[in-house]
Symmetry: none
Subunit: 130 residues, 4 copies
Amino acid sequence: MLETAVISIDHSSGVPLYRQIVDQVLLAVSTGRLKPGSRLQTVRQLAIDAQINPNTVSRAYRELDIRGFVRTRRGTGTFIVGDKGVARDEARHREAVEQFCNQVLADAGRLGLSLSELVASLQDRLTERR
Amino acid sequence: MLETAVISIDHSSGVPLYRQIVDQVLLAVSTGRLKPGSRLQTVRQLAIDAQINPNTVSRAYRELDIRGFVRTRRGTGTFIVGDKGVARDEARHREAVEQFCNQVLADAGRLGLSLSELVASLQDRLTERR
Amino acid sequence: MLETAVISIDHSSGVPLYRQIVDQVLLAVSTGRLKPGSRLQTVRQLAIDAQINPNTVSRAYRELDIRGFVRTRRGTGTFIVGDKGVARDEARHREAVEQFCNQVLADAGRLGLSLSELVASLQDRLTERR
Amino acid sequence: MLETAVISIDHSSGVPLYRQIVDQVLLAVSTGRLKPGSRLQTVRQLAIDAQINPNTVSRAYRELDIRGFVRTRRGTGTFIVGDKGVARDEARHREAVEQFCNQVLADAGRLGLSLSELVASLQDRLTERR
DNA sequence: GTGGTCTAGACCACA
DNA sequence: GTGGTCTAGACCACG
């Protein structure tokens, strides 16, 4: 599998920071990358890593807590909850992949790439990054 | 080449609408899809097509104007400017493709896809869309 | 030196409000009245002072941001950027004064004033304002 | 008296073109520069001189006609009307000069000029232009 | 017909 | 508290 940090913030994308955090945690849960019981980065640590204000991280975690995906225990940390989203895992994931692929194809089209050119470029990038 | 409209808006991505327009115009310029002198859609038409408020389109065009990529003539329309980025076309495009590929790989990683799985999914989507 | 507020809006001049703001900020920068790092009035405060809509102020600040003269930080404020125009300060200022004088002479000509009449009138105004 | 063209358009000032024309004609009338019976430039000629669309000139002349300052005779030209504004000439002119001086003092203040510096600069410009 | 300016006001994101 | 985004709609300027 392709390796990436669990949460990485893109400051220039225009997507609200807290939303990037929420989305990426949900994604990591749905793909099994974060399993029930897993501990999230602390608010402060993520704030430092991502160069953002701790309040923003905190708000994202709170939203995840309210929606029931994580549970925050004061003095201990924030943990993935077990019972949520396990059943709909498969469907969700498939849907996420579909949507992602649509987006990729649209963007590639704008860049003037055919599918084979896209694949070639991706392989190049992958080689470079190693 | 993969076919897409020059500008298409995703209302659910979290990326500001005006920013999507700006980015896509810049992309179209860098790939030569919009050439110097090309006329952009009128403010009102794009607003209708994209289901957004004309002010929002206007704001995007204004930013492009300030940044020097287009020139707006009242009563006439908005046009791609000639001298910007023409020389660096090739380099720009390569850079845009690289950045795009990095983004795709990162996102695919978060979705738990290997490169071959990604490619398979993309082909599926392409077939579906036909 | 003659005293004036950094930004003052003339509602009856026909010059777009946001443009008056942009021009006056640029002027204040070029004359060193606003120095790198200086904070502009908040959007809301200037809107109140100038009796205009906050959106209009915001639009002016955004243009200055795009053009690179200020940097806006959400939740913090809008600040003059350091690297722009610092070196060419002297030349810029001289140029601004020249252009301004040309304008004054042209307008005075249309008003049928000779230079000495103009100077006399200016002195009168200055006395009145005290 | 300082010499200037009767009507000169500033494309970069942001002031509506038709308004610049109207204002300058009114000014020329109030200062006696355009006397009753004087013929204005033709629509086409002014359009060419000022690099603007004839429609715009036409609209300005029409406004002046409606307000009673000029009379347009098809096939002949546009002429200053006699009876208007003769009486209020003096008061109007004084008011215009006052407002102009206030504007000049405010702008000079922003440029960091004292009155004597301003006068010196104006004299410099005048010498240059000769 | 084209785009431009401004307002009013709702709601969001970040420090 | 700061600024940002978007909408709705009125009215203007220019070709």
